[in-house]
Symmetry: C2
Subunit: 346 residues, 2 copies
Amino acid sequence: MKRVLAVLSLCTGLATNAAMAYEWQALPGKAPEPADNPTTPEKVELGRLLYFDPRFSQTGTVSCNSCHNLMLGGDDNRPFSMGVHGKMGGRSAPSVWNAAFASSQFWDGRAASLEEQAKGPVVNPVEMGMSDLEKAMDRVRAIPGYEPYFVRAFGTDKPMTVDNAAKAVAAFERTLITPNSPYDRFVKGDKKALNAQQQRGMKTFAEVGCTSCHSGPAFNGPAMKAGTGFFMKFPTFENNEYVKKYDLMKDKGRFEVTKKEADKHLFKVPTLRNVALTAPYFHNGSVKTLDEAVRVMAKVQLNKDLSDGQVKDIVVFLNALTGEFPQMSLPRLPATPGWTVIGDQK
Amino acid sequence: MKRVLAVLSLCTGLATNAAMAYEWQALPGKAPEPADNPTTPEKVELGRLLYFDPRFSQTGTVSCNSCHNLMLGGDDNRPFSMGVHGKMGGRSAPSVWNAAFASSQFWDGRAASLEEQAKGPVVNPVEMGMSDLEKAMDRVRAIPGYEPYFVRAFGTDKPMTVDNAAKAVAAFERTLITPNSPYDRFVKGDKKALNAQQQRGMKTFAEVGCTSCHSGPAFNGPAMKAGTGFFMKFPTFENNEYVKKYDLMKDKGRFEVTKKEADKHLFKVPTLRNVALTAPYFHNGSVKTLDEAVRVMAKVQLNKDLSDGQVKDIVVFLNALTGEFPQMSLPRLPATPGWTVIGDQK
C-alpha cells in the first residue's frame, strides 16, 4: 500500500512539474505604450470622457461603453453587439479589459493599435454610424467643455483632431487592465491564492495544450511587436460535430481583410483574462457557456475530447483569471447649455 | 442729472421688490421619502446597480441610464428616446435629476411615485421591451451576485421581488438631486452668486409670469401631496404660429391616461432645474434651443411676446439653475460567471 501511494505521489509530482515547466507569467501592472502616444493623466481623463460619451454616434445613443461595458466584463454579453437603430454586426464584441496587451486589434487584427481601433466603430454603419470621422469630431468640437481637456492633453496648437481623440481613448484604454487575479497572486508566490481544483485546472490547461496559443501574461499568445497580431486558424480540425453546430466555417476571419488564401479562418487569439465574464463565446458568440467553449476549443483546435472533470477543472482555473478592476468615478460629460449636439438625428 | 438717476434707481428698486415679493426657494438638500420606503444606504447601493444594468432589457442593451443619463443632464438630449431594437416612443425623456421632487411621474403623471415609475419602462415595448416584470426579475434573480444586495436592503424573507427592485431604484433616485446652484446660493444670501444679468433674468422670469406654474424649490409647481401631480394645459393659447410649427396639439397628454375631456392637453409641469442641460425641449422634443423654448412658452402659455433681451436674460437665469451633481463611482455590476443572462435575445 505504501508503495502504491509513493508511485501515485511520484506521478502527481511529475505531472505538476510538467505543467510548471511552462512559464506562467503574471499580468504586468502597466500596459505597454507606443512611443508616439505616451500615457499621461490628461489624455486618460479626456479619453475616459470620450469613451463614455454617446453623442458622437449618429443617434446619440451608442458610446464605446455601450458594447464594451466597463461596469461588466468589458463587453456586452451578447452574441452580436447592437449599434445605432438596433443594427447588428456579425462578430461578438471583444472585451476592452487588457486589450492594451494585444499586438493587434479586432478579431481579424485589422487595426495595428488601439489608436487605430478607436476610429473604427465610430464610422461603422452598424455600430456608431457616423458618416465620417470629421463629422464625429465636429460634434466633439461643438461641445464647449471639451476644448480645455484637449488643450491640457495635447497643447494649444489645434488640439481637437480625430487623431488626438483616438490617442486619448487609447491612452485611457491602456489603464483598463486587471492585474492581481488569484492566478497572478499564485504565480507571484502566494500558493494559497489558488485552491486544489484551480491548480489542477491550471495543470490540465497546460497539459492539454491550451497554452500553445493562450500563452503569455494575457493568455493571448507570445510577446510580439506592436501591430503584428498573433493569429490561429479556427477551426483547425473541421471534422467534428461542433463545426457545424456552431457555424464555425462561415466567417473567413482575417481573409476578409487581406484576401490572402493563407489567412482564411485565421482569427486573433483572444486574451483569456476575465473570460468568465464575457459569455457568450467565440467570434460569432455562438457558444453560451464557458464549459462548452472549453470543450469545443479542445476538439476543434487540439482534436482532443476532454472528460467532464477536465472541463470543470479548466473552467475553475479560467475563473481564477478574473482580475481586480480599477475603481473609477462616473464621469460628468461636458454640456451643451441650451441646445443639443445630436440635432435632428431620430 | 442727479434727479434722473434717483428716479431710475427707484424704478429698479420697485421692480426688484416686485420680483423679490415672489417667494424664491432653494432646493432642499434631501428629497422627500414615502413612509413605506425610507431611503437607506443599502437600498441606494442596490438601486444604483439596477439603474445602470442593461441586462434586464430584452436585448440587454438598454438600462435606465441609457435614456436618463447621469453623466449628462439626466436625459438623452434626443427628441424621443431610443429603446430596444432602435424603437422610439412619442415623448421626450424627462430628466431623472430631481425627479424626486415631483408629486407624480411621466409627462402625463400616470405614475404616482418613483417606485411605480420605475416599473414602466422595463415592460414598455419601445423602451426596455421585456414581456412582463417577473421575466425581468427572473434575470435579476439569475445573477448570483445580486442576492446579497437584496438581503442587505430588504432582509432575508424573499427579498428579490419586483416591488423591492422598484423600491431600490426609487431610493437611489431620491439621491439624484442637484442643490447649490448659483440660484440656490443667491437665495440663501450669497448676493454675488448671480451676476447682474442673471438677477435681471430672475426678475423678468417672475414678472412675465413663468413662476405661476414653475414655482417652488424645483420650479415645477406648488408643494402637493405625493401622487397628486401638478398639471397645466399646454398649449393654453392656441392661436399663434408656434402651435402648428411645433406640432403642439397632437399629443393629448393626460387625457391619454384618464380619457377625461378636462384632461385634454394637460401635461405635468416639469422642473426647470438643470433645464440648460436637457435640450431639445417640451414633451415632444420639438424645440431645439432654450432660447426658443422660452419664447414659445411665453407665447403659448402667457400670450406674451418677449423681447430678445428678455429671452436672453431669462435664459441666462435658467442656466443658473444648473446645480451640483453628486459624485459617484462607476458601479461594478454582479457577474454571471461562464454564461450570459441575456441568452438568445438578438
